[in-house]
Symmetry: C6
């Protein structure tokens, strides 16, 4: 959780999703899936706008994977 170097490929991949307003699917540890766009990230959370345009503050510890919606 202490790894947050803006030069890391994974941090840059998420940054790319933010800039390109890429629609993504986030799989969470609770089995729940969120579809939306990443608004911003910081070392603790990522902020996502979901399909009903609600803004969710998601803790990084809850992340399983992120994939783009084709």
């Amino acid at each position: 959780m202490t790894e947050f170097d803006t030069g890391l490929p994974s941090v840059r991949q998420v940054q790319k999703y933010i800039k390109e307003q890429q629609k993504i699917v986030i799989q969470l540890t609770t089995q729940e899936t969120i579809t939306g766009q990443v608004l911003w990230q910081d070392p603790q959370c990522i902020c996502v706008s979901d399909q009903s345009e609600q803004s969710l503050l998601i803790w990084r510890q809850a992340l399983i994977y992120i994939k783009p919606v084709p």
Copy 2:
């Protein structure tokens, strides 16, 4: 868990919910959902007043996401 810099966007977002007494929904790792208001936060916990006005001390490790109630 060691990330708690009051300048971080995610810490400030929660601080904003506290100041504005924003009604929020918290999704926990146990699948349980808490609706209420954040009273305060520290590096270990957030303290929330739920709908029956009970005060819950929630450990950060239990957080999945927080979203505002529209």
Copy 3:
């Protein structure tokens, strides 16, 4: 897990429960709920006396939330 500063509001809240022998409910990551009194806390665990007066050594990583019994 490395956050244990006796000046933190959340550590002091638990300390207050200890001093006042407040009856509390602890929600654990396993979904199990413990009702009882906190006897002491340290950076790794909290020790709780449950309703059958058994003493449980609970690891902090297992905590979801603590709330007082009204």
Copy 4:
């Protein structure tokens, strides 16, 4: 997980169970319960002899609570 100070009350409590060969119940994150005696502890694991006298190396991250068998 980085907290392992032999002076901590929780570390000493486990040490007391070892010395007194106290029969204990261990609740694990998988919901499984182990009954037996703690043989030794180190910063990463506790080693337990279960009821069939098998020796289990249990990772600390898997611990929910330990309680003595009355």
Copy 5:
């Protein structure tokens, strides 16, 4: 999570899977299984191309095991 030394056998094993384009199965904490090829790894994530050629950014905290498809 703070262990990411490119000289570690486990980091080199994953690196070997990348170079050899080894088809692998990844078991995740959510019970979900991903079959595909590892594209790259960094201290926070591994990036995997799954069977529908989608690119998944998988957080390391979600990993249970990786095994090659025979």
Copy 6:
């Protein structure tokens, strides 16, 4: 997860299983059980050869316990 001192009893216990090619059972956080032999360990993973002689790279965060097969 940062504890990996080759002098620790738990690290040496696993090392003993490796040297003696001890058949062991590994309980994982997903409830899955792996039976096999530990091939090597490093601070991030243990590598296990299972009953179909497949080599699994198991992340330490996924470990509940290891016990020898009698």
